[in-house]
């Protein structure tokens, strides 16, 4: 991996301040942070350190109070809502802790959902959904509804949904948080396979076991990056 090429994710001086009544809370302060294409980064830290805020800004679910942020060279810190939706749809794949599959849609329709927002032809959508489900081993469940699946299966579907649009980066927020250890391991294995296949991944976790899966760990504390390094061999 080289560090001279244009980073996929580029953050400089990111700050996030929440205002409630007369109280100012600095959730993130002067965050400088890059992720390169094909990299697998784990963001770790204790509760309240700003992990989720950082992931939300990374996923364009929230806007920074200050700082520069670009994805694949495109500045995205101050985009209009409609452009943010476009970038989220085309560049980012989300994997949530609570899976967040839509109960009224079948597995197939859940995976297809982000593609429907692209005005993509139905045949192409079908091919991509098929490929994504094959990738996570859930083709046989395509006609089922989420409530008919186990937690691990639901998260596999969520991963398929995240990769179906072939995004530039996958953002995973505590992807094993709602799973037992066996299913958690299985999902982590799936992410590792995706990474091996070339996917860029940024994962928030406070589980040290899973940090070891990443190429690089970014540790947050009180809204600041306190360490950025390769996970220790012991962890790996």
């Amino acid at each position: 991996m080289t560090t001279t090429e244009t980073p996929l994710i580029h953050m400089r001086g990111i700050r996030k301040v929440f205002h409630t009544d007369e109280v100012e809370t600095h959730a993130l302060s002067d965050v400088h942070f890059d992720i390169h294409e094909g990299e697998y980064v784990a963001i770790s830290g204790p509760s309240g350190c700003g992990k989720t805020t950082l992931l939300s800004i990374l996923g364009l679910l929230d806007t920074p109070s200050a700082g520069e942020y670009s994805i694949a060279g495109e500045s995205v810190a101050r985009l209009a809502p409609v452009d943010r939706a476009r970038v989220r749809n085309q560049q980012i794949g989300f994997i949530f802790q609570a899976f967040n599959l839509i109960g009224d849609l079948t597995v197939f329709e859940n995976v297809e959902l982000p593609l429907t927002y692209r005005d993509m032809a139905a045949s192409e959508r079908r091919d991509r959904v098929q490929a994504a489900l094959e990738k996570v081993g859930m083709t046989h469940r395509a006609r089922h509804f989420p409530a008919q699946l186990s937690g691990g299966q639901q998260q596999r579907v969520a991963v398929a949904r995240a990769v179906a649009g072939e995004p530039a980066i996958l953002l995973a927020d505590e992807p094993t948080g709602n799973l037992d250890s066996k299913n958690g391991e299985s999902v982590m294995e799936l992410l590792r396979e995706l990474h091996a296949g070339g996917a860029s991944i940024c994962m928030v976790t406070h589980d040290v076991r899973y940090v070891a899966h990443a190429d690089r760990e970014v540790a947050l504390f009180d809204g600041k990056i306190v360490a950025a390094h390769e996970p220790s061999p012991a962890m790996r």
Binding site: Q90, A98, N100, I102, D104, Y117
Partner: protein, 831 residues
């Protein structure tokens, strides 16, 4: 399509919410569609003729000395004399045609089978001006309207053609008997054409030249002091209403001043001035000429307002349900947004769901509309149901569809916009099971319910006003005993009897009716009681000054012997008519108290003399003074009224009979037609009914408005109650943790219940006050429809407040009880 499929899935997934929403909308849209059906037929629809917007109606308000006879085609301000119509028709240059027409009810006979129906006398310009084409044969033209009495041809309606001739072309050339005169059928009007008077369904159009040209001192066609024709025309291309008015008045004014003014006698200078300055008013005529436009407007607008309010309440309910469901789907919306959906896409999805619900409601509303129209049909008199279509017509379905679409967008918009304003991060992290709802949504929901309460209050008050009004109407002292009384009419004159034969026949009918077992009294009259008919004339009364502009008008009736006794009316002094009061005997009259008071007779009326029908000599002796009794309408004040014996008039060819019996009315109703068939099968029995039925028909508008508004008000209050219940239930669910904390801190059940019921009191208090304000405005608007009370009747307002408070308390009590039963241990674990 994807949106639509998902919307259907959502509807199926929450059957309770969907059912309540669909039912609410069905009731709201259906009620509106039903009233729209009447509104459309009576007030909106243009005549089915070529370029109806070019049609204009003519009227000439102002003094009309002489006789005026007006009917359902319009007010007495709108009628013209025959000579004036012909003068205008000959000379005018701004219209492509000027038409005179006069509707009538007559005795018809097809192949010797008699029946009563409506017909229209029409000028030769009628069909050419309307620009319609016959179904078969030909229509009437100017050539059929040239020589009085010489054109025995008739055009029949499509309905008559189908019903009596089976739609056979051979009907052309057959004979149709109308009022005893035989006419040759020359054509059939097109299927959708029912004349130029909304609310009537004539079966035949006859040449005006065939109208019986009788009368004294001049025949009808020569008299300029007899006003009886309704007139309309079609503007020439490029001519405006103003230009037409100017041009017609340029002709009209000199005729008034030079020809008609010299004919007037005994007119004061002031009245003469008003007479010669009368002007023709030209108004748009695309909807034809009909009293219904004026009479139905206020009641229909009132009912439309009521059903509009019901729909608003239904929409508020559905919006509330959708908001609650939207809160439950906050995570889904957050996820969709996170996956790149634009807000527009989500709003489209949610609006599709709302519209699907609305369309389902729209389909269900057709059943509600059908039932509502059926209910209306049971409240209308037969003459109205015959002339109205009370089935679901395409225009009603289109209206229901558009209303469903519109309401879908309106009630779906705020929930859609609100649900897609999700705080993405909290929505996504909240988890699918947790409901979220912002302060804005909560405020909106509370506002919706408050508005529902306000609207319900307004409807309850208006329903209360109409019910009290109907109660007042039902308590009106009629001055007659209508129970056990049956009435019907016959017209031997229309069946070809001359006046001598007709009088003899009518007298025989009276005798034969008396022989029916159980009959205790029979009498007859020329003017039916409480049927909306008014016959009036100027009279001279002994001791009462007479002169120009002195009101000497009184209502009249010609009645048979024993009229007062049979009708249960009271005689205060003198006697009533006997079989000895016949032509040739001393002319006699009975007068009522109001007559005696108006003409200064007091209690000494009996023995005084009077003159009738322009007769200056006082030749009629008043032989009896009767107690005031209602005459034309239940709600109208008793007019000055006198009776004369019909047997003292030479030309009686039509009578209404009243038969009193100790038997059930149904038996008597069944016995009359066979008796009449035995006496003369060619004379149809008309208007056979009980007198209570006649009175109900006389006040049908009051009954219809009060029953419908009460039904709609109950419906609206129920919907508002459901809305209130829904909001409070949702509020209790949302406040479970807070209530748990309160209970943990020592709040007892009563305090918790009070906490919830305070919410109810606040919404009902504010909504109630708003509703009272709206109700006051509605009461003012409906004043003309109320009888015997003011639009701000305090008792009605108090009762409405009480009823609404009870409903609100009932709706709030269950959620309050549920709140009071919250287990703090569970509540504090609630997530």
């Amino acid at each position: 399509m994807r949106h639509f499929t998902l919307a259907l899935r959502i509807v199926r997934k929450s059957p309770f919410v969907s059912t309540v929403a669909v039912l609410s909308l069905a009731l709201g849209i259906g009620a509106n569609a039903a009233i729209f059906s009447l509104f459309d037929q009576l007030l909106l629809r243009a005549l089915p003729v070529a370029a109806p917007h070019e049609l204009v109606n003519l009227s000439a308000p102002g003094p009309k000395p002489g006789s005026t006879t007006c009917n359902q085609q319009g007010s007495c301000e709108e009628i013209f004399s025959y000579p004036m119509y012909r003068d205008l028709e000959r000379s005018q240059s701004v219209l492509t045609g000027l038409v005179a027409h006069r509707a009538f009810g007559g005795s018809f006979a097809v192949r010797d089978e008699p029946f009563t129906a409506e017909g229209v006398w029409v000028s030769g310009s009628y069909f050419p001006t309307l620009g319609i084409q016959p179904a078969i044969g030909r229509l009437l033209g100017p050539a059929d309207d040239e020589v009085p009495g010489a054109h025995d041809v008739v055009v029949i309606s499509h309905a008559l053609w189908m019903e009596r001739y089976g739609g056979a072309p051979s009907a052309i050339g057959e004979r149709l008997v109308v009022n005893g005169v035989s006419y040759t059928i020359v054509g059939v009007a097109p299927a959708n054409f029912e004349g130029a008077t909304i609310g009537s369904r004539p079966l035949a159009w006859l040449p005006l030249s065939m109208y019986p040209n009788t009368g004294t001192p001049q025949p009808l066609f020569e008299s300029r002091r007899r006003y009886w024709l309704y007139v309309f025309g079609r503007l020439k291309p490029g001519v405006t209403l103003e230009q037409a008015s100017t041009a017609l008045n340029t002709l009209y004014s000199p005729i008034l001043a030079d020809v008609e003014a010299p004919l007037q006698e005994g007119m004061s200078d002031a009245t003469m001035q008003r007479f010669v300055t009368r002007r023709i008013e030209v108004t748009p005529g695309q909807r034809g000429q009909s009293n219904i436009h004026r009479e139905a407007k206020t009641p229909l607008l009132m009912l439309f307002s009521v059903t509009g309010i019901v729909l608003l309440i239904a929409c508020a309910n559905v919006a509330n349900l959708l908001l609650a469901r939207g809160a439950g789907r906050a995570t889904e919306m957050g996820v969709r947004l996170a996956l790149g959906a634009s807000r527009r896409q989500l709003v489209t999805q949610l609006l599709t769901e709302a519209v699907v619900l609305a369309l389902l409601g729209g389909v269900a509303s057709l059943f509600v509309a059908h039932w509502t129209l059926h209910l209306i049909g049971t409240l209308l008199p037969p003459i109205a149901t015959e002339s109205l279509s009370l089935s679901l017509q395409p225009s009603v379905m289109l209206f229901a569809g558009l209303l469903a679409l519109g309401t879908g967008v309106v009630f779906g918009l705020f929930p859609a916009l609100h649900s897609t304003r999700a705080d993405l991060i909290s929505a996504i992290r909240a988890g699918a099971s947790q409901m979220t709802g912002g302060k804005a949504a909560s405020r909106f929901r509370t506002t919706l319910v408050t508005v529902q309460v306000a609207l319900s209050m307004a409807l309850l008050v208006s329903a209360g006003l109409f019910i009290k009004s109907l109660t007042n109407v039902s308590r009106v002292e009629l001055g007659a005993d209508i129970d056990q009384l049956v009435t019907f009419a016959i017209s031997p004159g229309r069946a070809g009897y001359d006046s001598t034969r007709a009088s003899a026949f009518l007298a025989r009918v009276e005798e034969e009716l008396a022989t029916i077992p159980g009959v205790t009294g029979v009498t007859s009259a020329l003017v039916p009681l409480l049927a909306g008919n008014n016959w009036g004339t100027d009279v001279r009364v002994q001791g009462f000054a007479h002169g120009p502009d002195i009101d000497a008008n009184a209502r009249l009736n010609r009645v048979g012997p024993g009229y007062l006794a049979t009708m249960g009316m009271s005689l205060l002094a003198g006697r009533e008519f006997t079989h000895a009061d016949v032509l040739g005997a001393t002319p006699v009259a009975l007068v009522n108290e109001t007559f005696a008071a108006k003409f200064g007779l007091g209690r000494d009326a009996v023995g005084k003399f009077m003159g009738i029908d322009g007769d200056d000599s006082l030749t009629v002796q008043i032989v009896g003074l009767m107690k005031d009794a209602k005459y034309s309408d239940v709600k109208d004040p008793v007019p000055p009224l006198f009776f004369t014996p019909w047997r003292q008039v030479a030309n009686t060819t039509y009578l209404v009979f009243y038969v009193r019996s100790s038997l059930p009315s149904a038996q008597l109703l069944a016995a009359i037609p066979p008796l009449m068939r035995r006496l003369d099968a060619t004379i149809p029995v008309e208007e056979l009914k009980t007198m209570p039925q006649q009175v109900r028909e006389n006040v049908f508008l009051d009954r219809m408005i009060s029953i419908l508004s009460a039904a709609f008000a109950v419906l609206a209050t129920l919907l508002a109650g459901i809305g209130l219940y829904g909001v409070l239930s949702y509020s209790v669910t949302q406040r479970t943790r807070e209530i748990g904390v309160r209970v943990a801190l020592g709040a007892n059940a009563a305090r918790v219940r009070a906490l919830i019921l305070r919410q109810v009191a606040l919404m009902v208090g504010i909504g109630g006050l708003l509703g009272i304000t709206v109700a006051l405005a509605l009461g003012r608007a409906a004043q003309s429809l109320l009888f015997g009370l003011e639009g701000h009747d305090p008792l009605v307002f108090a009762a409405s407040v009480l009823l609404l408070a009870l409903v609100a308390f009932a709706a709030g009590y269950a959620p309050a009880r549920r709140a009071a039963a919250i287990d703090p241990m569970q509540a504090l674990r609630y997530d």
